[in-house]
């Protein structure tokens, strides 16, 4: 179905099942360890051998020679695949670096070989016996020194640079001005489940059991990389132990398993070892961001400029930290710029809330600083500059979508589209009351509890809502049981559950009568999981398929009884009813059952209206007056994100994202060795993410909101909103506690300790 006019009343509005805090329907499988994750798929195909991936020991240069003799002689070794015997390979559309390096090396730990052996231990042991001679080449590894060479590069269908009015003039004449530079660190996704795949060839047909967020992209890029038809590739990924963007694209585990299996002529399973992942796969690039804000004395912003620099391998895109600044606050004169410099570090790519997470980390400190300059409450300053239209909406460049490669048609362009619904100020107002914001002292360093100095901070949360085509198939069997099939993925988000809720609501069935099957390329192509587009889009696809099934059932009912009034038909308790007539769905399904398939396709509503999600973060921290250790004490996020399909799983999404925001604020940083050109702390001992002891009481409030412009579900994405701004709220709380302003993330104690107000 085409969705090109705002939704009116529909069966979802009943909210008998949708909108209820249903526990995950896949929860028991996970808590009993019976959900089959990729590396657990011992049973899907017999005779599996083990692959172990060897990463390059240099960051840039060439392999002069590889000596495999000793490794080949090692016990249990079946085959070794390198670029020399892998056959002709192309690069996937979504990959920047090649997944198999050699002889040219593009980054540290780029895969250069996979050893296949009878056991994992044999494969690992043999990999250590591969002797490689390299010629190192000089590389660029330091963003700060490469920043001036940064070039604008379009990202996510929007242009990298924009301007409205006359920023320079307005800024230079503004009464109150801020001009500061902020930095965010290289970050690693660090999801619990490592990248893992089992590959098996049956003739020229390849099946991959893997862990991937975007099934169709994985199929497409595997086909392209191997030079085979998409129809020859099947990808199966029903359970995913976290992705955060790391599993959006085909990665080396899947390709190396496929190549290894082809050479070994046996199914092969490969998991990337943890210490390989940060340099072998992808990360979020560090950013340097310059923010300039000019305002009148009354707090009205007159000029706002945001420039962001990041790094990537040649061909890779920017981490566009300035994007959200086009839409978040009012102001007549503005400019944004997102530039990317060539770095020979591993490939940078999407990590949870790409662009907004680091962008707001900087912008929302700047807003806090500006409020202080204006002697305004930081909430009032934000409310003062709230806007119901997008202040800066540049024309879209030709599409850079590698799937379609279609240039956007020359559409009429509204430079200031309205938001479909925007309740940012309301989030702040509700949050302020709930959090006790009035207890905050605007002068920093005034409150303490024992040795802890206390402070509160706020920040706006903002993230676009993306809608994208999503298909599903629904199958009603003779027992009245409905099965939903779509290649949508559940990366821990709750997709299984909200899809089941959607189908149950649409068909008038209890949840127990719904089976959801996900993550298989033999199912209709969905939106997949990423960019917080999955939940809303995929349930809308299921909605569309269910509508089609309802129509088919209604026709059957009418066939049974000609006076059955289709237009009044309702689906409830396993029946279709109209007036005094009712039929059991099970009976109408008959012995052969009924199948319906459809996709939701979105028209131009997302171009006529800006669809975004909003929130307000509130954080209280304690900072040890002696050691400057920082500990978060309380967090609250108030979110306005359309209809919340399941408050329980949505809350889990938001608190998880808030936790990730704490990580970015306080500890997460891939440290670059600028001599060798790699991330040094490439395991979970060296790359610290928050542990339970770091995370205190977290509260989430969802505004009661629907957005009929977004989709028939009237929902929006919520998976990334919670990280947006969270780091800045922590940073602002630290400032409020200590009076020490740190503009470089992560805010570790060494950046505070020299300036701590209390001397010893």
């Amino acid at each position: 179905m085409k969705f090109d006019t705002p939704a009116t009343n529909n069966p979802i509005d009943q909210l008998k099942v949708v909108g209820q805090p249903v526990s995950r329907i896949d929860g028991p499988l996970k808590t009993t360890g019976t959900a089959p994750y990729a590396y657990d798929r011992h049973d899907v195909v017999p005779n599996q051998a083990y692959g172990y991936v060897l990463g390059s020991a240099i960051a840039k240069g060439r392999i002069d020679s590889i000596n495999l003799a000793e490794a080949k002689e090692s016990p249990g070794v079946i085959a070794i695949v390198t670029a020399e015997n892998a056959g002709k390979l192309s690069k996937g559309d979504y990959n920047t670096a090649l997944l198999l390096g050699g002889p040219e090396i593009q980054h540290y730990h780029q895969a250069i070989a996979v050893v296949v052996a009878e056991t994992f231990e044999q494969a690992r042991s043999a990999a250590h016996l591969i002797h490689v001679n390299y010629s190192r080449a000089k590389g660029s590894f330091d963003l700060a020194s490469e920043k001036s060479k940064g070039v604008p590069k379009d990202v996510f269908g929007t242009s990298s640079e924009s301007s409205v009015g006359n920023f320079d003039k307005a800024f230079s004449t503004a009464k109150v001005r801020l001009d500061n530079t902020y930095t965010t660190a290289h970050e690693s996704h660090s999801m619990l489940e490592p990248h893992a795949s089992v590959a098996a060839w049956d003739g020229d047909q390849l099946t991959i059991w893997t862990s991937n967020q975007m099934i169709a992209w994985a199929v497409g890029d595997m086909a392209k990389t191997l030079g085979v038809a998409k129809e020859k590739i099947r990808v199966i990924s029903p359970y995913i132990g976290g992705g955060f963007g790391a599993k959006l694209f085909l990665r080396s585990d899947a390709l190396m398993a496929a190549l290894a299996s082809r050479v070994a002529r046996r199914p092969v399973k490969v998991s990337l070892q943890r210490a390989l992942i940060p340099n072998n796969t992808v990360h979020r690039s560090a950013t340097i961001q310059r923010i300039r804000i000019g305002a009148n004395r009354d707090g009205k912003i007159t000029a706002i400029g945001h420039e962001s620099w990041s790094g990537n391998l040649p061909g890779g895109g920017p981490e566009a930290g300035a994007l959200q600044t086009r839409a978040l606050y009012a102001g007549a004169n503005r400019m944004t710029s997102n530039r990317v410099s060539h770095l020979d570090l591993p490939e940078a790519n999407a990590m949870r809330a790409p662009n907004e997470a680091p962008g707001l980390a900087a912008l929302e400190i700047a807003m806090d600083e500006m409020a202080e300059k204006l002697d305004m409450d930081p909430i009032q300053f934000r409310i003062k500059n709230d806007t119901q239209i997008v202040p800066d909406y540049p024309p879209r460049p030709a599409s850079n979508d590698p799937q379609t490669k279609k240039p956007e048609k020359n559409e009429p362009h509204n430079p200031h589209p309205p938001f479909s619904i925007r309740q940012l100020s309301k989030c702040f107002e509700i949050g302020a009351e709930r959090f006790g914001w009035d207890k905050r002292l605007s002068k920093p360093g005034q409150l303490s509890d024992g040795r802890w100095m206390l402070g509160m901070g706020v920040a706006s949360a903002f993230r676009d809502n993306v809608v994208t085509k999503s298909a599903a198939r629904v199958i009603l069997d003779r027992r009245g049981h409905l099965t939903v099939e779509t290649d949508m993925t559940d990366i821990g988000t709750g997709s299984y559950t909200i899809i089941a809720q959607t189908a149950a609501e649409m068909m008038g069935l209890p949840l127990e009568k719904i089976t959801v099957r996900l993550g298989d390329s033999s199912f209709p192509v969905s939106a997949g999981s990423g960019g917080q587009w999955g939940g809303n889009s995929s349930t809308s696809g299921v909605y569309a398929a269910c509508l089609k099934l309802r129509d088919a059932i209604a026709l059957l009912a009418k066939g049974q009884k000609s006076e059955f009034n289709i237009t009044d038909a309702v689906f409830t308790d396993g029946f279709i009813r109209s007036g005094s007539h009712s039929f059991l769905l099970a009976e109408l399904a008959g012995s052969r059952g009924l199948v319906a398939e459809d996709a939701i396709e979105f028209g131009d509503l997302d171009k006529r209206f800006q669809q975004s999600t909003f929130g307000a973060h509130f954080v209280e921290v304690g900072v040890d007056r002696f050691t400057a250790e920082i500990r978060v004490r309380r967090m609250l996020a108030v979110c306005a994100a359309g209809r919340i399909l399941n408050p329980k799983t949505a809350r889990s999404q938001v608190i998880g994202a808030m936790t990730m925001g704490v990580g970015a604020a306080l500890m997460e940083s891939l440290e670059v060795d600028k001599r060798f050109g790699y991330f040094v702390n490439h395991d979970l001992a060296g790359y610290e993410v928050p542990v339970h002891a770091d995370i205190p009481h977290q509260e989430v409030i969802f505004l009661d909101e629907t957005d009929p412009i977004s989709s028939p579900m009237k929902a929006k994405g919520v998976g990334e909103l919670g990280i947006c701004g969270a780091a800045a709220a922590v940073a602002n709380a630290i400032y409020n506690a200590t009076g020490v302003r740190v503009r470089d993330y992560p805010i570790t104690l060494d950046k505070l300790i020299e300036k701590m107000p209390i001397k010893v």
Binding site: E121, R124, F626, T627, F676, G686, D694, E754, V760
Partner: protein
């Protein structure tokens, strides 16, 4: 991991003799560190002698009024022991500040003392490291060195000893009891067990080949207020940026040892005599001759401030 052979020892003397005789052999107890290092082929023993059956898992009062801790007592059990909690609380607190519950359940007392550094360059076999391959150079010098040592370092190595427990043991003047490959036993004061890196950072302790720690002896309890303060970037499951173990007497005198600053638990007895003069005077002497990098220079101030906090806490 290289393939290896495996045996279980039935007596400490036999184990010591076997390891001394067999080239490439090593003891294994809890395995929480050794197995990780073997998987990465940083350690490549060809033969493992499992000492878990030796029974060295008792904690008993010693005749001198102190405590005798078997080498195989698990960290969890040691931390929870009633004598330790009553008389050597600093040890219990140090243990609980380290690792995770799961690791403490498995890790042994002697293994904890002999664990190896967590320097990330030591852990990456593509990088030069004098500990792994003497003479290849130290990558941490001039590299990412925020976690690294600031005192007792050399041009060959700036790694730290990662243990919390060992810092408390050093503070308590523990001695280790060993059996050598010839079957004879001896005791080594803990101050003499760990070495500074010098030109041979690959040699980390003074045990002879095959020499096996059988127990750790603690002297008579000294009273005082026992504090272990570990400063780290996250609240749990992280190695110390710096840690301070202290026993402070009511008159303000006492003892102090540091973790996270050196290749061994760091204690300077002459500095302790200045405790009553405050943290600045003590730190100045404790960290005399400190040599820092750009990344870890903050540790000097952090030690002073952490010590100030500890002394403040000790006052109650």
């Amino acid at each position: 991991m290289k393939a290896f052979t495996y045996d279980r020892a039935t007596s400490a003397a036999e184990a010591a003799s076997a390891v001394a005789k067999t080239t490439g052999s090593k003891f294994i107890a809890g395995g929480t560190n050794l197995l990780d290092l073997m998987k990465l082929q940083i350690e490549t023993p060809s033969h493992l002698i499992d000492i878990n059956d030796l029974g060295l898992d008792q904690i008993e009062p010693a005749t001198n009024g102190g405590l005798r801790i078997g080498a195989l007592v698990r960290n969890t059990d040691l931390a929870a022991n009633e004598y330790v909690r009553r008389d050597y609380a600093v040890l219990s607190r140090a243990l609980l500040a380290g690792a995770s519950g799961q690791l403490r359940n498995q890790a042994t007392t002697a293994g904890n003392l002999l664990q190896r550094t967590r320097c990330p360059y030591f852990y990456d076999t593509n990088m030069p490291c004098n500990k792994r391959e003497p003479g290849r150079g130290c990558s941490a010098l001039g590299g990412y060195s925020r976690m690294h040592a600031i005192v007792g370092i050399s041009d060959a190595c700036i790694a730290t000893h990662p243990s919390d427990m060992a810092v408390a043991m050093r503070l308590l003047d523990a001695t280790v009891e060993t059996v050598r490959s010839n079957g004879l036993t001896r005791t080594i004061p803990i101050v003499e067990l760990h070495r500074l890196p010098g030109n041979t950072p690959n040699i980390e302790h003074t045990l002879e080949p095959g020499e096996l720690i059988t127990a750790v002896l603690l002297p008579k309890p000294s009273g005082g207020t026992h504090i272990y303060r570990k400063v780290r970037d996250r609240a749990s499951y992280a190695f110390a940026l710096v840690s301070v173990a202290a026993i402070i007497q009511p008159d303000g005198s006492g003892k102090v040892a540091l973790g996270g600053v050196a290749h061994k638990p760091w204690r300077v007895e002459s500095a302790e005599r200045k405790l009553q003069r405050g943290s600045k005077a003590v730190t100045k002497e404790l960290l005399a001759n400190a040599r820092t990098t750009h990344d870890n220079a903050f540790k000097v101030q952090l030690v002073e401030r952490t010590l100030a906090s500890v002394l403040n806490d000790a006052k109650g």
